[in-house]
Every structure is written in structure tokens, then in C-alpha cells.
Amino acid sequence: MVLEVRDLSVERGGIPVLTGLSFDLAAGQALILRGPNGAGKTTLLRTLAGLQPALCGEISGTQETIAYSGHSDGLKAMLTVAENLTFWAEVFGQKGIDRAMKAYALEPLAERLAGTLSAGQKRRLGLARLLVTARPIWMLDEPTVSLDTQAVAQFAQAAQAHLMSGGAALIATHIDLGLEAQVLDVAPYRARLDAKAGASDEAFL
């Protein structure tokens, strides 16, 4: 297993959102997170990525293995597409952005400033960043927002290739990507309010 989650509870703003989550992710597997808006998918992904502490439970396998992609792509408007990608490649200790540029058909845009791209093009650049990190576990929060059908297909293809090469992916999305993947609906794990879930402000009740 590349990622193991046991009895995990996550919080937002000091209040438990999801409790009792357990799942495994093996190499070559993808897990699609589903659930209504506000169910806690983003919070779960941020917790797994190590951006915020878990309330309780165990997460193993996330040390230096995560490529996280949130709602914003971390792009600099005044850098070109190639410069943006090269920067992230170097931060992750990698060289070469050609494969990533090709996967999302970004070559014609290479010398454009990222600030002049359309929303969909920016997103493609943000997704291309995942390929230059060379990290095995992708954690993606709504990756297909503002993508057209062609770009969604590019993404599905890149994700498929990533899984084939032994990677894993955890994707929160509402779109059917055509990937062979397990689906985890987070709605049943919604935290009950009376539960002693370990929320920060429970002491005050």
C-alpha cells in the first residue's frame, strides 16, 4: 500500500467535518472522492497533504510522496509558461519539462506569460505541474474545473499513464473521467455534532 488511512478525523475552523475514515490506496490505483459541496473533500485532501493537522487517526505513506493541487495553481502571471514549469521542476529536484508540456499540449504557449492565458489554459499548466514533480501520489481537488472536453481527455490520459507507471491518485471530482477507479463517498462519514470527536473547542461545551 502506498497510502494508508486509519480512523481519520479532519476538522475545519476547529469543528470536526469528517470522522472515522479508513481507506487504502495501492500503487496503480485511483480513488475518486465524491460528496456534496461542503462535505469536507477539500479539508480531507489538505489534511492528507499535510497542510493541516488531523484531529485524530493515522495517515501513513505521505512523507515526501504527495503532489498536491488545490483550487489555485500557484502560477506567476509575469513568468512564462515554461518558466513556471521549470521553477516547480527545480523545486522538486527534477529536470526537464518537455514531457509535461507535451502531455497537455502546452508547447505552442511555452513563451506566453502565464497572466495572459485563459482560465482553462492556466488549469492545464497547473496540471502539467504534477508531471514535473515526479511524486507518486497525486492529490487533486477538482482538477477539471474550467477545462474543455479535449483538455479533460488530456488529463484523463495523463492520469492513466501515471497510474500505469505505478503511481496513485486521489481525486475529488464530480466528472466521470473514464478512469478505472474506486469511489469513496464521504457523505456517510460526516461528523456528528454530539460526538466527542476531539474538536478544538469541545472543552467549552
Binding site: 469543528i15 455534532l193 478544538s200 473547542d201 469541545e202 472543552a203 461545551l205
Partner: protein
């Protein structure tokens, strides 16, 4: 039964409800006795005349201005290490009290300085240090106010309090160095405690005790308010999601 039991907000409220009247009573008693004794039943100083009597407000408030910051530092450390909410809220509650103490010290100092030195304000190291301390208090309170999430605010203000303490001490030395550097051998010495005679000393001690008790009472009271605010917030957050 360890001391940490009172880190539980509810227990803290119960305890403080029991001891608060005692602290209020003792604080008022000490202040009335100390101030009346100091103002009306001590002789005028042969050099400074009756102006010396402001010492009964000035010295205790100055002491508490510094002690309040030290208390906030300790409370911040406890919050960062043990994550007891009461500790963080007590630090928050102490800050405005500390500001008022600092202001009292600065104003009474100015009122005292006017007849003694012929000026309301001098850039003496001690005066300057207090002004800087005042700025640190302002920054600390402003940060608490600016951040919406209470736990985030508690964490950030605690870090600021730690770093600020180091810089406050550094500033104190820097200011000492700076003023000596400007005019060699400053003519205004503010070392009062050494030349205070016994007649003034005992009522001063009573006043200091009064200020300490007043500070404790105020902080307990304000911490209680903060705890109730957090309780309201916690209940509302759950109500919204029920």
C-alpha cells in the same frame, strides 16, 4: 488533583466565580488603605515636596505593566506546549489590562516629571522602554483582533509574544546604550526605589499588593468573559450544522 485540572474552562469558571469576590475585596481594601495612607498620612519629601506622592500610583502600575507582559509570555508558552484554551484566553485577557497599566505609568510619570525635571517627557531610557512596551502591547492586541479563527489567533499571538519578548529585552539594552551614547551621563536618574525612605515604603508595598490583586481580579474576570464568548461561538457553530 493537579493544577492543570483548572485548564478546563468550566472548572476554571467555577473556581474563579468562588475566588473572584475575595480578590476584588482584597484589591479594593489594599488600594483604599494604601492610597489614603500614602496621600494623607506620609510627610512631604524634603526635596520633592508633595509631588512625590504620585509614587503610589506610578511605581505599582509600572511594575504591573511589565509583570502583565511576563504573565502573557508564560501563558503563551503554556498554550503552545500544552494547548490549554484557558491559558491562551488569559493572555488575551491580560493584554488590555497591561496597556492601561503602561499608560498609567507613562501619564503619572509625565505628571511627576513636569515639576521635577521641568519637562513632561524626556527620552530617558526607562521612559523610552515603556513607550516601546506600549507599542508591543498595541501590536499584540491588534493581531488578536485581526484574525477571525480563535485558535489561529491564539497560535500567532503566542509566537508574536515570544518573539516580541526577546526584542523587548533587546530594545531595553539598545535604548540604554543609545541614550548614554547621546548625552554622556544623563542627569536624570529615575532609580527611585533606592532612595525611598521607610515612611514611604510601607504604604507603597500596600499599594503594590493592591495593584497585583486588582490585576489578578481583572484578568480572572476578563478571562471568564472570553471563555463565555468562546462557549457561545462553539454552541453557535454546532447549531448551524445540526
Amino acid at each position: 488533583m493537579s493544577l492543570w485540572e483548572y485548564a478546563n474552562p468550566v472548572r476554571f469558571l467555577n473556581l474563579s466565580a468562588r475566588v473572584l469576590p475575595v480578590f476584588w475585596g482584597l484589591a479594593v481594601a489594599c488600594l483604599i488603605v494604601g492610597l489614603i495612607w500614602g496621600f494623607f498620612f506620609t510627610p512631604d519629601d524634603f526635596r520633592q515636596g508633595s509631588t512625590v506622592k504620585i509614587i503610589y500610583l506610578h511605581v505599582p502600575s509600572a511594575m504591573m505593566a511589565i509583570n502583565a507582559w511576563v504573565m502573557m509570555l508564560v501563558a503563551s508558552l503554556i498554550w503552545l506546549v500544552r494547548r490549554h484554551h484557558v491559558s491562551a484566553l488569559a493572555a488575551k485577557a491580560a493584554a488590555p489590562v497591561g496597556v492601561v497599566m503602561t499608560l498609567i505609568a507613562l501619564f503619572t510619570g509625565a505628571i511627576w516629571g513636569q515639576p521635577m525635571w521641568g519637562t513632561w517627557w524626556a527620552w530617558d531610557p526607562r521612559l523610552t522602554s515603556f513607550l516601546i512596551l506600549f507599542l508591543f502591547y498595541l501590536g499584540y492586541i491588534a493581531l488578536w483582533e485581526a484574525i477571525e479563527d480563535p485558535d489561529t489567533a491564539a497560535d500567532l499571538t503566542s509566537v508574536l509574544c515570544l518573539v516580541g519578548s526577546v526584542f523587548a529585552v533587546l530594545s531595553r539594552y539598545a535604548v540604554n546604550f543609545w541614550n548614554q551614547g547621546l548625552h554622556q551621563g544623563a542627569s536624570l536618574s529615575l532609580d527611585k526605589e533606592e532612595n525611598v525612605a521607610d515612611v514611604f515604603y510601607i504604604p507603597l508595598l500596600v499599594c503594590i499588593a493592591g495593584f497585583v490583586l486588582l490585576f489578578i481580579a481583572l484578568v480572572l474576570y476578563r478571562t471568564g468573559t472570553e471563555i463565555r464568548l468562546r462557549r457561545t461561538r462553539a454552541l453557535q457553530a454546532r447549531e448551524g450544522r445540526a
